[in-house]
Symmetry: C2
Subunit: 324 residues, 2 copies
Amino acid sequence: MDIQDLAQRLRSGERRALARAITLVESSRSDHRALAAELLEVLRDSAPREAMRIGLSGTPGVGKSTFIESFGKYLTGQGKRVAVLAVDPSSSRSGGSILGDKTRMELLSRDPLAFIRPSPSQAHLGGVARRSRESVTLCEAAGYDVVLVETVGVGQSETMVEGMTDLFILLLAPAGGDELQGVKRGIMEMADIILVNKADGDLKPAALRTVADYAGALRLLRKRAQDPADFPKVLPVSALAEEGIARAWEEMKTLWDWRAANGFHQSRRAAQARAWFEDEVRQALLARLTEDPQLRALMGEKAAQVTKGHLSPVRAAAAILERM
Amino acid sequence: MDIQDLAQRLRSGERRALARAITLVESSRSDHRALAAELLEVLRDSAPREAMRIGLSGTPGVGKSTFIESFGKYLTGQGKRVAVLAVDPSSSRSGGSILGDKTRMELLSRDPLAFIRPSPSQAHLGGVARRSRESVTLCEAAGYDVVLVETVGVGQSETMVEGMTDLFILLLAPAGGDELQGVKRGIMEMADIILVNKADGDLKPAALRTVADYAGALRLLRKRAQDPADFPKVLPVSALAEEGIARAWEEMKTLWDWRAANGFHQSRRAAQARAWFEDEVRQALLARLTEDPQLRALMGEKAAQVTKGHLSPVRAAAAILERM
């Protein structure tokens, strides 16, 4: 594989080159890992490009796909190039939701200004984090203006996505006050903007009430000193009726520009790079367990004893670590 | 700390001893880790006790706390001792949901036959898995008949909980057919019994429709060859009205007894012990990164270069791994 050529085609905006590059960083084969590392270094040495990296979280049922379709089309309508990456390992068994992802974001996926990449199928969250970070970097190098990183988790994967984006958007559905309890405080604190979707038709009053409820809840949470006083914000949107999308985008831009003007993106990305480095070390260390044949044999032997109940998991682990 | 004494008091059913033991296994201090390992070994050498380990998953808003309260009270009403463990790291920043956990399961928490333990505050999912597994073992050794392991995740933590329980229950709220799409196929496949909550009052018809929808969806999924043909099942419950709880318990018992009679719990627990061992090795390996002072210093140095943008995360990691 000619990495220089791939890098050049990727930088020139060729979608197939981007897709191929992401497949490369998602691979766990060691030769692919080496090529991926080389590609990232080549791109790193090119003139830097900066996308607005947006994390988008929302539990199943809030209308996330419809929102992405609506928001994505709005942005491409303004001439912006939009990449959408999903980060959640979809399933450790079979992948994908019941109805599949084929019908998701149908219009956006046919838009020449958009690039949509479904979840990596790897179940291991650490591996997913690394590959997603690299994929974000690739989309940025390919000249996308906005990189939307989508997650459906309720905690762990949000932390991961916050670690690779500049803005964090939480999408909610209209809900009664009781259900406020369900949203983890940690995720609320990550959110820069909360969008209450389905603010249309019969659900509109409930959506507006939810906006008010969450605005109230946010006041209880500590503000980030660095942001303008009126952030985080809560806004109603209707992905279906395509209402409130422009306003949501304006608010994202406002916050982004403010942070850019104050150098906050730079410091945040520096901290993210550091975390990336530390994670990279951890992942590579774990890979050693499976790479060394002797160690692998010993692991197999101890595992057999544990399976038979002759040895406790903790004692078996101690035996392995003594050897290393 | 006298581990023999703690083990003895725990085995005699002293709740404070159990609480203390769980605090010990949740600690990351290395002296505590050593004591925890010793405690587990002492308990392992005692006459074995077996609880029914039930994983319970449900996204925020489905009424999980109300269900646990209702289900737990039903079981203690039958003279059974019930332990409830929550496994999700509640937040990487501040922990706990907005309204806090204090008002959750008020009746059950005062029940002398019940033991409730909130989530560990550790954000690291790997660490949480280890500690939760050990906590389940402790509850079992303390003679609890049922250990309920609660999770709110939408994927990763379910896999973790499935790895430490015998039965997996998924709690859902009544919902339209569209929202079926949101439930990941992997979680559906894990579920032995799906309970559709809120089957009361105005929501009852919707709940019954949801039961039918999911029963249909389950037929599309591959059955586990080992289970009776009518599992996994979908049943309506009302945690609030305390309806359907006895039926749900009967079905759990039926499946549990069937699996026990066929030796499936034994083989499942053997596989879980193996996975536990492998995870234990991984966790201990990672701990080395922070324990060795020289390595820690080098990590700090490289991290500083990455933060300043002088070195890419991937190259910095390679430098560390070369040294190890």
